[in-house]
């Protein structure tokens, strides 16, 4: 019968010396180990200097911020509850209409931009570039532009979201279309259908659930964007929010932020349920 043998205790340095070859790291990695943190810290010091951020600003700012937070409690409607609720409804309306119009415009554009449905390579790359440019410009910039074009109000917000989402949805839709199987369409065309019938009965049923999921996802994210475009005057709760911040009515600011949080959570929940019902738990390509 064997007894339990104790593990021999060795000097750690001796063990380290024995396995030196395994522990040694190539010189390039060792430079990286030191160089990367140094570069990160150096760049941040440079940024602070370049942006002229003074640490003297931070102390008074923080005490000011603490004062604001103190004023936020308890949140109060300030007698404007009706107004805030109407603005929140406006925000949801902007997000809904914006997303819907973007989706309606994006479908034909996506058909033109997808490799397997585009009538011509030139048209395809032209539509793609246009979508890229639209997507490269932020919703808030579009909002500002549309305020200049159609005037202040929620309509400018609807247009801004519609245009900027056309870029994003168009790209996602065209990718969904490119990922479809060609067999269904070929079958329909081979049995005498026109190429339009091929798209309607062979392609659309494949992409419709994916497209619906993406539209819902964009609706969720637009509810968030629609809360801020009011800051530049494009309607919705953002206008109230920036007004109350500018007039230092922080109890009302807190109420509006709470309203936004509740509305966003509610929309997330509803659209999550709908999305689950339509496509199951499949991740949306981002």
């Amino acid at each position: 019968m064997k007894g339990r043998s104790a593990i021999a205790v060795e000097d750690p340095m001796v063990v380290l010396a024995r396995h030196e070859a395994l522990l040694a790291r190539p010189i390039s990695r060792r430079i990286g180990d030191i160089g990367l943190p140094v570069a990160i810290v150096g760049l941040s010091i440079f940024s602070v200097w370049w942006l002229d951020i003074s640490f003297a600003q931070i102390g008074p700012g923080l005490s000011q911020l603490a004062k604001f937070i103190g004023l936020m409690i308890p949140p109060s409607t300030g007698g404007h509850l009706q107004l805030f609720l109407k603005a929140m409804g406006e925000t949801l309306a902007i997000a809904f209409l914006g997303t819907l119009s973007a989706a309606v415009v994006a479908v034909p554009l996506a058909l033109l931009a997808a490799e397997n449905t585009s009538p011509h390579g030139v048209i395809r790359s032209f539509v793609r570039r246009v979508l890229d440019v639209i997507r490269g410009i932020d919703t808030l910039i579009w909002a500002l532009v549309f305020v200049g074009v159609v005037g202040l109000g929620p309509f400018a917000g609807v247009m801004a979201i519609a245009v900027s989402d056309t870029g994003g949805l168009g790209k996602l839709f065209s990718e969904a279309i490119e990922a479809t199987r060609a067999r269904e369409r070929e079958t329909i065309v081979a049995s005498g259908g026109t190429s339009w019938m091929g798209i309607r009965f062979g392609l659309l049923p494949q992409v419709l659930p994916i497209i619906a999921g993406q539209i819902l996802y964009f609706f969720e994210s637009n509810t968030r964007s629609a809360t801020i475009i009011g800051i530049v005057g494009a309607g919705g709760i953002g206008l109230q929010l920036s007004e109350q911040i500018r007039t230092y009515d922080f109890d009302q600011v807190a109420l509006i932020v709470l309203l936004i949080l509740i509305a966003v959570a509610a929309i997330d929940w509803i659209s999550g349920k709908l999305r689950f019902a339509i496509i199951g738990r499949r991740p949306i390509a981002t």
């Binding site: 990160i40 760049l43 941040s44 940024s47 602070v48 370049w50 942006l51 002229d52 951020i53 600003q57 931070i58 700012g61 923080l62 000011q64 911020l65 604001f68 109407k86 409804g89 406006e90 949801l92 309306a93 902007i94 809904f96 209409l97 819907l100 440019v133 490269g136 410009i137 932020d138 808030l140 910039i141 500002l144 532009v145 200049g148 074009v149 159609v150 929620p154 309509f155 917000g157 609807v158 247009m159 968030r224 964007s225 809360t227 801020i228 800051i231 530049v232 309607g235 953002g238 929010l241 920036s242 911040i245 500018r246 230092y248 600011v253 932020v257 936004i260 949080l261 966003v264 959570a265």
Partner: protein
């Protein structure tokens, strides 16, 4: 031997056709209900959103002429002069653009440090305390749901105009989103190394450092770089409320109808964003070559 389609008896055929008819009718009814609901919502939203199609048609010409007007006048025979005229403030804008990117950098760095420190407290498999975990998760949620522009407005009031407000606002938003992503990364690690390190007597900090972090580091770096791309876009916007960067200049140009300046600045922003996208994408592919193809 000739084969033909089997002909079903009359009665069976009628039964099947009736079933088919019922199915089609049900689907049509469902589509109709969906359609009616959407139309009702459109009507309701149209009332709230003050959408007037007449107004749209009326302004459509305004929209096209707007884009016509922001286009610079470039004539082939004076091309260099025209471009110099269009970009009259090129170096001023370039400096602001550089500011914008540095704001994004500082915000990303701050958010990353905060999120990295707290995410291991929020991860289900590592968290030392339930209450702490719940609190940290709610905190992340709050920070990412409140739009960064709202934080920017608040901070401009508290800290004054300038890039500090922008850095803090974007940093807090980054903290919220990265916190969530980091937490999820930590939750999906292989637990065997964690058990190994724990059974050798490691405390919480050692467990995170030696068992969890090495598994997720490439992922975390990749998320951070992705966030940096998004933050460059965000920091070009926060200037709208006076929180530094090129946004201020763009805001003024759009508001005061300096048409060609609008296109000049927009083009600069688009170029800067595309360059950062390409660079970070290259680094991200280098970090995790197997992850996410396409």
């Amino acid at each position: 031997m000739a084969t033909g389609l089997p002909v079903l008896p009359e009665q069976r055929l009628a039964e099947l056709m009736a079933g088919y008819g019922r199915d089609v009718a049900r689907r049509r009814r469902n589509s109709l209900i969906g359609f009616v609901v959407v139309v009702a919502l459109i009507w309701l939203a149209g009332r709230f959103g003050e959408v007037e199609l007449g107004k749209l048609l009326h302004h459509l010409s305004g929209l096209t002429s707007y884009f016509g007007r922001i286009m610079p006048r470039l004539r082939p025979d004076h091309l260099t002069d025209d471009i110099a005229d269009w970009y009259w403030n090129f170096f001023g804008w370039l400096k602001l653009l550089f500011d914008t990117i540095l704001i994004a950098y500082l915000a990303t760095l701050g958010g990353t440090i905060g999120a990295g420190l707290l995410a291991c407290l929020a991860a289900d498999n590592l968290a030392p305390s339930r209450t702490l975990r719940w609190l940290v998760k709610r905190w992340f949620e709050f920070c990412r749901t409140v739009p960064d522009l709202v934080f920017a407005l608040l901070f401009v009031s508290a800290f004054g105009l300038g890039p500090l407000a922008g850095v803090l606002a974007i940093g807090i938003h980054t903290f919220g989103t990265l916190g969530k992503m980091y937490t999820e990364a930590f939750e999906s690690i292989d637990m065997n190394p964690v058990e190994g390190v724990r059974s050798a007597g490691a405390r919480f900090a050692d467990t995170v450092r030696f068992a969890a972090l090495p598994q997720v580091l490439p992922n975390l770096a990749s998320y951070t770089l992705l966030r940096f791309e998004i933050n460059v876009r965000a920091s070009s916007i926060v200037g709208f409320v006076g929180a530094g960067g090129i946004g201020q200049e763009l805001f003024v140009a759009i508001r005061k109808f300096y048409y060609t300046d609008v296109s000049a600045i927009l083009l600069l922003i688009i170029i800067a964003v595309s360059i950062t996208d390409v660079l970070t994408e290259r680094v991200r592919h280098h970090l995790s070559p197997v992850e996410k193809v396409g």
